[in-house]
Symmetry: C2
Subunit: 414 residues, 2 copies
């Protein structure tokens, strides 16, 4: 019970987090960062090297001309599986302790697919990735889903954009299937974790990561800590109300950001435009079937300078920018990372987001904030999930499901 | 340098924070809360009692029928001064380590008073409170101001609602005057700290406290930690944009919440109504001088069932409620505390806030959240500030300005 609560546990966590957040670090840098005794740092580092968690990744010349060893996490020590269930895809990633992707697999899914079919596809991907590789040992897995999570029990309570997805006992189902500890998380949070450890938010203690795809979600770090809110439901920027008189939303509200600016909303608006006889390339791209149009088609049409498609993306980006300006006035992040399908659709959308933030955010806060586009591609949430699943190993707990119950028994599920 | 970073420092901080957050606690409760060894808890508690930080406040019967001592912070160990500068007041409070108010003093000020006159009034209050009492020793002071702060240097960068208030070197000025360590903070954050330690947010790890007066500010705790953002500018809910086409705001933006729902905005709207010949008691309350009307007058008229005054408060409350619903969708707080002049004006405003939150917030998040009215009155920010100034003593640092440089030299100021 008291493991990790003493001085050694605290030093261990600090050192490993510091190295992960910075990619690599020397003993001297660690000592300076935490005002620790150099001797104590060396002792702790030797223990972590003996356990196989740290490796020397190179030599650096210090200012005084002395050489010091750069320490990194030892990828070969352990691997974990991250599975990301989105509204339109299942992505599985096998990553090692250092965050390197060892293998990946994905399926496209249709919105509306039955829940048990989706679960079967997720299990298939997981099993395939697990069986394809023997080294390093896969010690844990994580599954992320867009929506409310009960992380202590590993239950996905609801994923609004997946029909019929309610109270899915992720931990129970996948521990039984895979035989390793499994945790569940909201996919916007695992996306934020990936940006913090591998992406655009490296070194940022206060940042937000927004995932704009079929739906819109947000993960946030405040004071260097991933936040989950009072009942694990934080980050619902997609359900901030932009227009109290607006369209009804799937959440039961009205005029939420998702009704205006999500991939789903843009596809709906495009279909309406085609039906109303707007002159647009989208008509040709979808062979005249309005229902077939997707947000991706809108991105393609916009890249071909189609005026109507551009206007749809500008309006959506402006709405996202206003919501982000308001979130930033409250949170004062140093970095905002934009990710998800709409962001990769091209510059029109991202430029509209940036313009709206500039217009609506207090200059004193805006001047201290950078808006960056994710470079992790569609795999961000799955990679972040794999690394979150490995947290327990870094923390020195026996199993890998950090901050959650770690029994592999399935008898306590529902 | 390493004081407080070892195991003993960590245990010490945990125990003192736990007792402060809960008012009192037994050794057994502390041991259970942190999975600590009972012996280790007893040793740490004895040290803290010997230092005079903890006192036995009573005896409790445990479930097993055994008696255990309740431990509290020992108020008599130290006191601190908290000075709160608002747009319309200066409030000074002398509080002991347990948060008990020993003395207070206040001035009303007019918006538009010159900065040096305001500083003189603040110093007068501080000196009066310091000289009136010898026990317990006043070890530190804190000054809170609504606006951006540079806490490391103790500089108040700007207070929008106070004309000409820019780059005021709070620490330098008051350390010179008082001869004790001084820190500066945004007053919405010290209000939040007061609610966490003494008020409606006791025991809540994730909550927001909104101060609705002449301006509108917000303090927030996420994961049990007071947040300041990436550049100490978090909490600007008053400058979230409610209407992109709305009125210009003092911040340079347009349609901010403060242009619609602050005390200043309500007074402006009331004056416009009187000028436009609206039938309202406000006309009599202000003897027909529209410029003389205040938000307080509107509250009084509303309590006399004046329809126009009520409509102003309902509109303002609805706007605050929408902004709070959006902040809550992002932060998922378990408690929202409402404070400030408008809140104490009566139920009309508060009911409108609650109605709007219910209307606009996702039910899944709203069901886990309570909206409570502060009971600390106007002294909340000053009391919180006094306790924040005492943080350093609880943390075991030599002086009391936690997290800030603590030199009393004034040569490094500007």
């Amino acid at each position: 019970m008291t493991r990790g609560t003493g001085a050694q546990g605290a030093a261990r966590r600090r050192i490993l987090s510091f190295i992960r957040d910075n990619g690599e670090a020397s003993r001297g840098e660690i000592a300076r960062a935490f005002a620790m005794d150099k001797k104590a740092v060396s002792v702790a580092v030797e223990t972590l090297r003996a356990e196989g968690l740290l490796a020397v990744s190179g030599l650096r010349e210090s200012r005084a001309g002395r050489r010091s060893e750069s320490l990194s996490l030892n990828g070969g020590h352990a691997a974990a599986l991250g599975i990301d269930l989105g509204a339109t895809h299942v992505i599985g990633v096998l990553a090692d302790l250092a965050g390197t992707v060892l293998d990946r697999a994905s399926y496209e899914i249709r919105p509306g697919l039955p829940v048990d079919l989706i679960l079967t596809q997720m299990k298939t991907i997981a099993s395939r990735l697990l069986s394809a590789r023997r080294e390093p040992v896969v010690r844990a897995a994580g599954v992320c889903v867009p929506g409310f999570i009960q992380p202590e029990e590993g239950i996905s309570l609801v994923a609004e954009n997946i029909n019929g997805w309610r109270d899915v006992h992720i931990r129970e189902v996948f521990q039984l299937e895979l035989g390793i500890p499994v945790q569940a998380e909201d996919s916007s949070r695992s996306f934020a974790a990936a940006e913090r450890w591998l992406g655009q938010a490296r070194g940022a203690a206060d940042f937000i990561a927004v995932d704009i795809g079929y739906g819109i979600g947000m993960g946030m770090y405040c004071g260097g800590v991933l936040q989950r809110g009072g009942s694990w439901k934080s980050g619902e920027i997609g359900h901030t109300v932009m227009d109290p008189e607006g369209l009804p939303c799937a959440c039961g509200g009205r005029g939420c950001l998702e009704t205006i600016a999500s991939g789903r909303a843009i596809a709906r608006q495009a279909a309406e435009g085609i039906r109303a006889g707007r002159s647009t390339l989208l008509r040709d791209l979808t062979k005249g079937i309005p229902e077939a149009v997707t947000a991706q088609d809108v991105g393609i049409a916009a890249s071909m300078l189609d005026g109507y498609a551009i206007s749809l993306l500008v309006d959506a980006g402006s709405a996202v920018g206003l919501a982000l300006a308001n979130a930033s006035a409250i949170l004062n992040p140093s970095v905002v990372v934009l990710g998800g399908g709409l962001v990769s659709s091209g510059r029109v959308f991202v430029d509209a987001v940036k313009d709206a933030v500039r217009r609506h955010l207090m200059p004193g806060i805006g001047q201290d904030m950078r808006i960056l586009v994710s470079r992790l591609g569609a795999d961000g949430p799955a990679r972040g999930m794999a690394l979150m699943a490995l947290e327990g190993i870094l923390e020195g707990t026996r199993s890998a499901a950090a901050g959650t119950r770690t029994s592999v028994s399935t008898s306590d599920g529902g």
